[in-house]
Amino acid sequence: MRSPAAAIAWEFRQRHRWGLIGVASYLVVIATIKLLVLGGQPVNLESAESFAFAVVVPMTATFMYSLAVFSFGLAGDLAGRQSMYPARMFTLPVTTAALVGWPMLYGSAAMVILWMATRLLAVWPAGVHVPSVWPGVLAAALLAWTQALTWMPYGLAGVRVIAAMLWLATIDAIVLLAIHYNTSETAMVAGLAPLVPLAYLAARFAVARARRGDVPDWRGGFARPGHRTDFWVSRRGRFSSAARAQAWFEWRRHGRSLPAAVGILLPFELALLWVADNTPVLVFEIMLAVLLTPPFMAAFAAATVRKSNPGAGDSNGVTPFIATRPLTNAALIAATLRATIRSTGAAWLLVLVAVPLALTLSDTWPMVSERARQVSDAVGAPRVIALAVLVGAGLMASTWKLLVQSLYIGLTGRAWLIKGSVFLTLSALFLLGPIAQWLIDNDRLGELWSALPLLLAILVCVKTIAAVWVAARLYRGRLVSDRMLVTGAACWCVAVLGLYGALVWLLDSPDMPRYVLALLAILAIPLARLSAAPLALAWNRHR
């Protein structure tokens, strides 16, 4: 390597070679399908699901991955104040312009090439006009601004996320408006292209500032409210136990991510109530989106919860500081679980306070209460209340479950296992769409419904076998006490029976046999994966 440009390019290529190979493989697969399997014949992809899963989802995933790669976002603290530009590069004998320019140039080029390849190779629905250039320019502009905003040092933790979301959403909104008004391709390119050099100037300012260690500090005015969050501490200013101290640690480390994310999104979602114009369908769609926000965001927040060492971007191992706490592995996991319960509670508290407030202020409350009264008249008040409680509890439980269900992978600290599980999950998601479409197209839904009890029974068997294996390992390794094992099993049985009783009361019908409800209840309550978390931590902590 004879130049800084080549060295920076080599780092991107070397560090993310597996991801880049994955993207290249995807392009090869779709090219093969289009050119060899379909032989260049016109294709009629009428189904939105097929199109979404064949093109939109992989493209979006690739775009998000590229954003993270070229902004160095996979190795930094997104919520922190410091610039996410790697500090090690500040001491290189190159100008700030080069430090900014080369990653931005590579990123923009990658975005444009990715778009051109997708446009040429992907199987697009018949009759749809696919733009030639502007989506590539838009992707380059979004990446450039992501780079500028992530490399900027901020005065407060979390401001980066808010600034990036607001600015990128603004660009998106302007583009959507332009599409709505049938703006020409030339005008789109002319409007979007200047965003890239503007982002370059902003990024250069940001990196220059970070390079001279100029990080603004606006925390003075927020110090007191921040201090009040220490509700884990007793009145004497001490933690009453090691478990409580560790739970506080976990809460401070990543417990606030979920409430913060929900808190940022809620105002935007609820603001739509004012433009819904009292249209029932829109209001209920907005309500549905609001209620699904905590579980949806939990899926993202889980990435920080399951990471045993979020402070170090590319390290998954337990830090010596945590590993040398005189606590058992089970106690360390229990602290994480307590913090996630509190995190879930805080996120839902925001929703429960904000929703009635927004409904009242936007004058949509009468419409919602009227609809609730109609449902109550139709099925009876007790059932409506029970259903509301069950749905609410289900949403809260699923929020928590999404936060903790991947702990057993993340806490292993093995990068190959973590990346492998992400790859398998994404692959399964990509396959889900075409399989669902195939079932619909071939009228196989009836057969699927008939086979549902068998499928559920197989899943229950797998879950049971996994749980027994995990319990045996926990017992043999003395990772949890006998009492904890028995208590855990008993609590799980009670939860399953409770859920089964509620399901029978609500859904019992000839079309839904009780054993199916029992199988669903068994599958719904977490057991094997959650129990495996201490095993994963022990594997990581005592290597």
């Binding site: 001490r238 401070r252 402070g311 830090t319 010596p320 590993a323 706490r325 003395r478 005592h542 290597r543």
Partner: protein
């Protein structure tokens, strides 16, 4: 109860094709200062990680206070004070938060002693850990390791890259700890003068093997050259072939 605080038997550890520790056997007596010396990459930190239970003994065994540190982390770690070279204290905590957090784990935590150390080390309790200098972080780590008056103090390359004032504090901490009867110190370092200053026993590791182990005075006596008692540094060069700390600060 055995008089050995740490007993390591036939411990072997491999990382891929690299042998980090090869049949290491040692016994560390109670109430002594034990120096663990060796070049960078010799296996000192790997051995300490086994003692703390951060690495599982693949071959051989490790016992601390007669307990397996992997099977009983609470039993071992609650009696150990540990300061690592990495000093990975959580940067987001304030000094007082870290002290309050740490005290919850150790029933024997001495508030008065912690405050005394904080004042001696001139640590601002409202300062964020991430804003402390390297030397201040080392002092804070030392405070956390000492304030519960551990039976065993493990210092893994504590002086690396630190100025003479901080190094003096660390040596002072070792002396304070052994002043409490029955307490033991394991000091790993490649600064041999520092080890020579405080250690009673020395174990020298090279390429994962113990090349020398015993009371410091006996080692020096047995390596006399022309009637002159050599320094530990000279013995190290003679046995291992390279100076231990060629870049040491003046």
């Amino acid at each position: 109860m055995s008089d050995s605080v740490i007993t390591v038997s036939e411990l072997t550890r491999r990382f891929g094709t690299t042998t980090a520790l090869a049949s290491v056997t040692l016994s560390m007596p109670r109430g002594a200062v034990y120096g663990l010396v060796g070049a960078n990459g010799a296996g000192k930190t790997t051995l300490i990680k086994h003692i703390l239970g951060l690495l599982r003994a693949e071959t051989g065994s490790v016992r601390v206070f007669g307990l397996d540190p992997v099977a009983d982390p609470v039993g071992v770690l609650s009696r150990v004070g540990y300061l690592s070279e990495e000093n990975d204290l959580p940067g987001w905590m304030r000094v007082d938060e870290l002290i309050r957090y740490s005290r919850a784990f150790y029933p024997a935590w001495d508030d008065g002693y912690a405050e005394e150390l904080r004042q001696t080390f001139a640590l601002d309790s409202t300062a964020k850990v991430r804003n402390l200098s390297r030397g201040q972080k080392a002092r804070l780590g030392l405070l956390i390791a000492l304030a519960h008056r551990p039976e065993l103090l493990v210092l893994d390359e504590p002086s690396s890259g630190l100025d003479p004032l901080v190094r003096r504090d660390i040596v002072g901490a070792v002396i304070r700890t052994i002043a409490h009867e029955g307490r033991t110190v394991l000091l790993s370092s490649h600064l041999l003068e520092e080890v020579e200053q405080v250690a009673d026993h020395v174990t020298m590791i090279n390429h994962g093997r113990v090349v020398l182990s015993g009371p410091l005075d006996a080692i020096k006596e047995s390596h006399r050259v022309d009637g002159r008692v050599p320094s530990l540094d000279e013995i190290f060069v003679a046995l291992v072939g390279t100076p231990a700390a060629p870049t040491r600060d003046a």
